[in-house]
Amino acid sequence: MNYLKDKKAILIIILSYIIILTLNKLDIINSYLLQIIMLAGINIIMTVSLNIVNGFTGQFSIGQAGFMAIGGYASAVITTLLFNTSSWPVYAQTPIFILSLIFGGLVAGFVGLLIGLPTLRLKGDYLAIVTLAFGEVVRATIRLINYVGGPRGLAGIPRYTNLFWVFVFTLLAIYGARNFVNSSFGRACISIRENEVAAETMGINSTKYKVLSFTFAAFMAGVAGGLFGHLLMFLQPDTFSFLKSNDYLVFLYAGGAGSISGSILSAIVLTVVPEFLRFLANWRIVIYALLLVVLMIKKPEGFYGGKEFGFLKLKKRNVTREVSQDPAPIK
């Protein structure tokens, strides 16, 4: 049964890819809309990555845009500054693009490991505060590095990101996250979220699993940053301020922490809806903010909290899973 569900999901995803592509070829979806769809895909990767740390491991990281910046810059350095890949033959561009994305992810993951090792030993809100500071330090540091353009930003990045690669990486992120959550690593992370002390009593090395999920999330955010840079063809450190991190927090908690489906839905909805509200001009963000406050008051668990699409459900044997998004407050 699960196999069938899996196949149905894959079918739907391939179909939606073909539909978007045909609509684009028929000029019903113009390049502006297509760009928003691709941004939605990148936002899905970011939200899912944040979900692994905040939703499944129960930690509280609020500087995810910092990893996005690191990944974006690292991959852009490879394709733009180290090698002038835009003059390369087309068949060589794709492999170097993919390699640069993975490189960006690895750099971000390594930095995540460095940040995570000392801070994840601490309990409480320290991770939140350190990650907030970390995001801003990344931004300030990039502004100081003239090699990547400093505060002016890095221009001339070739546009390698297209719908196909966004789809591929979004799917990899979703399935990667699902399999991670489904694995023994993921179960350990969930047990830490539910009760860290109890998890440690059961022999789970909580620091190890927290660092692991944090690093994994940083890697995903790095890859998303690479896609982002090669989509906009321009990177500027101020794009990745804590306001961007806040966006992803909003995506995550509006959709429901601990639900990959919620992240997917809210990343799509909250990326697309503001674009359709553009006719409201200055009132757009006011209404967005009001809607957000009302949503969180009416449905604090997020609009898809505690639920999953069929193909993302945990495989369980007569076990019901309770989703609590917040570990007991630590006094």
């Binding site: 350190v130 801003e136 540091t141 502004r143 922490a257 903010a289 957000l292 969180m296």
Partner: protein, 299 residues
């Protein structure tokens, strides 16, 4: 040497404002464990209320008694805004996962920034802030300063001493500390927890408004986004000193201000990052901040 003293002077002035704003963060965090992202915007609201009151009084130089009245009105109105924010956006979520309240805080912050921005008579353009205090230059041993700077530092310190008095010597203060210590036990002792939380928000927002007015008196430009960066830095100051601890917020504010000004003197981008680097370093060695007590979790 004189340069360093001079920079320290600027640092103290900036630090006293950070400290005022950090107090609000730390009080709210101490009492309901919420990082109030909207706190930075209270200071913007305070500055704008004072700006429009002064405009209504004819603008320019107004008598000092009116300046005091205007600032106090601004603080009270902003305080009420703080109370309203808590009642509308945070109170319904108090028993819910803590992070939901954080997201509404982000929503409130977006609203407070963008609602004035959308109003035609405020809009996104920065405005010059009126000169509220007499401007006279001094020179103490080669260190240049002016009356506004000194007044702002003095006022900030007076407000902080006042707050310290309230929290340690009055009934409301001991109620606040009781609620911070244990909300349920405090409620059992007959303390009206809701009122205490409202009072905390009132004081925090009022102090932020004062901070906003003082900041705009020294750097006389206001716009709807001024609260974002100021608020973030003040938050870092609060954490630096030990979040939840009022003395810590003051110390953190001054450290943050001096460090930032000194680093900015080297490189303007360094200045922005310096505070955050100090924060990370302090948290690595003293995870609860300078004044914070690190408690061991018991099961």
């Amino acid at each position: 040497m004189t340069t360093i003293l001079q920079l320290t002077m600027y640092g103290l002035q900036l630090g006293s404002i950070y400290a005022l704003i950090a107090l609000g963060y730390t009080m709210v965090y101490g009492i309901i464990g919420l990082i109030n992202f909207a706190h930075g915007d209270f200071l913007m609201v305070g500055a704008f209320i004072v700006f429009f009151l002064v405009q209504a009084l004819g603008g320019g130089h107004i008598p000092y008694i009116l300046v005091a009245a205007v600032i106090i009105i601004g603080m009270v109105l902003t305080g009420l805004l703080g109370v309203a924010t808590e009642r509308i956006a945070y109170k319904p979520l108090r028993k819910k996962p803590r992070l939901s309240a954080l997201i509404t805080a982000i929503g409130v912050s977006m609203f407070l920034e963008n609602f004035p921005r959308a109003l035609p008579f405020i809009g996104p353009a920065p405005r010059p802030f009126p000169e509220l205090f007499p401007m006279r230059d001094f020179n103490i041993g080669g260190v240049g300063t002016n009356s506004v700077q000194l007044l702002m530092i003095a006022f900030s310190i007076i407000l902080m001493i006042g707050l310290h008095y309230i929290t340690t010597r009055t009934k409301v203060g001991s109620q606040m500390r009781a609620v911070q210590f244990d909300k349920d036990a405090a409620a059992l002792m007959g303390i009206n927890v809701n009122n205490v939380i409202s009072i905390t928000f009132f004081i925090g927002a009022a102090l932020a408004a004062a901070g906003g007015v003082f900041y705009s008196s020294i750097y006389p430009m206001i716009d709807v986004y001024m609260g974002i960066w100021l608020g973030t830095k003040a938050f870092v100051a609060a954490v630096l000193g030990g979040i939840g601890d009022i003395r810590g917020a003051m110390i953190g504010g001054f450290i943050m201000g001096v460090a930032e000004v000194l680093a900015t003197a080297v490189n303007s981008d360094l200045g922005y990052g310096a505070g955050f680097v100090i924060l990370i370093l302090i948290l690595l060695f003293k995870p609860a901040g300078i004044m914070g007590k690190f408690t061991i979790e018991k099961v």
